[in-house]
């Protein structure tokens, strides 16, 4: 269109303010972190250049590091497993509810609450029965006393307690995305299918599921990225404890940086975190591409 008439100046006015702000506040700090990661530094004294030794310590000698990576990946797996369930609920909502918007909005509620609220709520659910903990009281009530435990202080179950909170919080988010995806499928397709005798589950099998695939993928990517970034929820609920049992990459980074004041080492973990998030996205895209190819 009027592309030819765009001067360099106009282009700069439209692009540069945003681009500069973004690069200066996202990529510059990450480069700085990459630089710090080559030093041993407590933030006050002299920086001591140590080359890549922070990385080799992290990968080979840090007993907390790999378990925290593993927990982060588990977060991603659980949240991916949740998405087919969200899709199913979205399909049911479309089918059985005449005015589904209210339900969809209420399912979304936990997403908009501050992590501070969520943390406080679930802490009180997981509390010991003597402190009024809901879960333990409920277990007592149905006669399962032997199942009661201090959910957040027991290193064997605390991480699962956190997984559950995050699944609970984001279920509504994924329902909303899938639901809107289904709403956007044209009614004409269904009507045409109805004439051909495809109705109910048959219509879902041949129309809804194939057509909702792009939205399904978006949900998957958001779930994985969100899980790899998981941070403040863990921070507010357990801060990585007890005895590092709920440590994820981000909390490990934070504790090393701001509690142990190992600035260089903390930065190395930050860089690992960034690389991991980027790699995961590339991998997911590859996976989707190849699954598409195999379907054709």
């Amino acid at each position: 269109m009027h592309a030819a008439k765009i001067s360099k100046l106009t282009l700069s006015v439209f692009v540069l303010p945003c681009l500069i702000l973004y690069v200066v506040l996202v990529f510059v700090p990450i480069s700085v972190a990459a630089y710090y990661s080559l030093f041993q530094w407590n933030g006050i004294g002299e920086k001591l250049f140590v080359g890549l030794s922070n990385y080799s310590t992290m990968l080979a000698h840090d007993p907390v590091f790999w378990p925290s990576v593993w927990r982060t990946i588990m977060f991603a797996f659980f949240s991916m497993a949740e998405i087919p369930i969200a899709l199913l609920i979205a399909v049911l909502l479309t089918r059985y509810v005449r005015k589904p918007n209210f339900l969809v909005s209420s399912y979304f509620l936990p997403v908009i609450l501050s992590v501070v609220v969520i943390g406080q709520l679930w802490k009180s659910i997981y509390n010991p029965a003597s402190l009024g903990g809901l879960l333990n009281n409920a277990l007592d009530f149905v006669g399962l006393e032997s199942w009661t435990r201090t959910w957040l202080a027991d290193p064997e179950v605390s991480i699962f307690a956190l997984f559950f909170v995050s699944l609970w919080q984001y279920l509504g988010y994924h329902i909303l995305i899938q639901f809107t995806g289904i709403q956007n499928i044209s009614q004409e397709v269904y009507e045409a299918a109805k004439i051909d005798g495809a109705d109910g589950w048959k219509a879902d099998r041949y129309i809804t599921f194939p057509l909702v695939v792009p939205v399904f993928k978006i949900s998957m990517v958001l779930a994985v990225i969100g899980s790899l970034k998981v941070f403040d929820m863990v921070m507010v609920m357990t801060a990585g404890g007890p005895a590092h049992a709920t440590e994820v990459i981000s909390t490990h980074m934070y504790n090393k940086t701001f509690a142990a004041l190992e600035y260089g080492y903390g930065s190395a973990i930050s860089i690992f975190l960034v690389i991991e998030c980027l790699l995961a996205t590339v991998l997911l895209n590859k996976l989707f591409k190849s699954s598409e190819d195999s379907m054709q």
Binding site: F14, V15, Y96, L103, I112, L113, V274, L278
Partner: protein, 271 residues
Amino acid sequence: MRKIAVWILFSVLFVSQVYPLVWLLLYSFKTNKEIMSGQFLSLPATLQWDNYSSAYTAGHYLQYLTNSLIVVSITLLFTLVLSAMVSYAITRFNWKWGKAVMLLFLIGIMIPIQSTLLPLVVIFKNIGILNTHLSLILPYIAFAIPIAVFILSGFFRTVPREIEESASMDGASVYRIFFNIMLPIIAPPLMTVTILTFIDVWNEYILASTFISKISLKTLPFGIYSFFSQYSTNHGAIGAYLIMGAIPVITIYFMLSEKITKGMVAGAIKG
């Protein structure tokens, strides 16, 4: 029969997702003793309005609320304008680096904000803006931009070009076309971006607690957290404070929730 089963499922979900707010509301009106008894769904014997007044007076509520509003509104204003302009340039202008710039923004969606924590502390300290609202607003804008560009440029691609072409033939400048014609057209996805950014920034806790230490500058989530540690024994007041902190975001959400979905999926599918 199947219908009943489905409705049971919907109801269970409804209770589990809405319960926290109800719980919190009840909690905020109870005495300490009632809270410790562990009767989660019991009603408070008398409504303890005291909880609210003590949270309000002792917790700097108005101060933190004002701070949150300042930070959120400046962040929103800049995020919306800047990312709308870039998205327009990426989808409509014919320039060599358009695709590369888009990719650069897409990468930002995957980068966790916490990986910039330490460098930002050091940089902000050196240029003297640590412990100011600017130290929050700048990274908030920067990390809100990628998803905004993703959604907005997805939407721009669906807008037919004829409108601009005829306006440009009538002699309207690019700026006029953008501000007077395009911005009103992209109101729905701007609404989506507004809600998503509002929720994120309103609830952001880690940066706020790392960069800000002055009481007069704290935002609500960090304010709430400080209130916990100071008044850890007054549970009802904490509940009241949590409710007061959640009210603005819940209000905004229910005011705009009809609009959030349209823009989000438009961006997602075309992006």
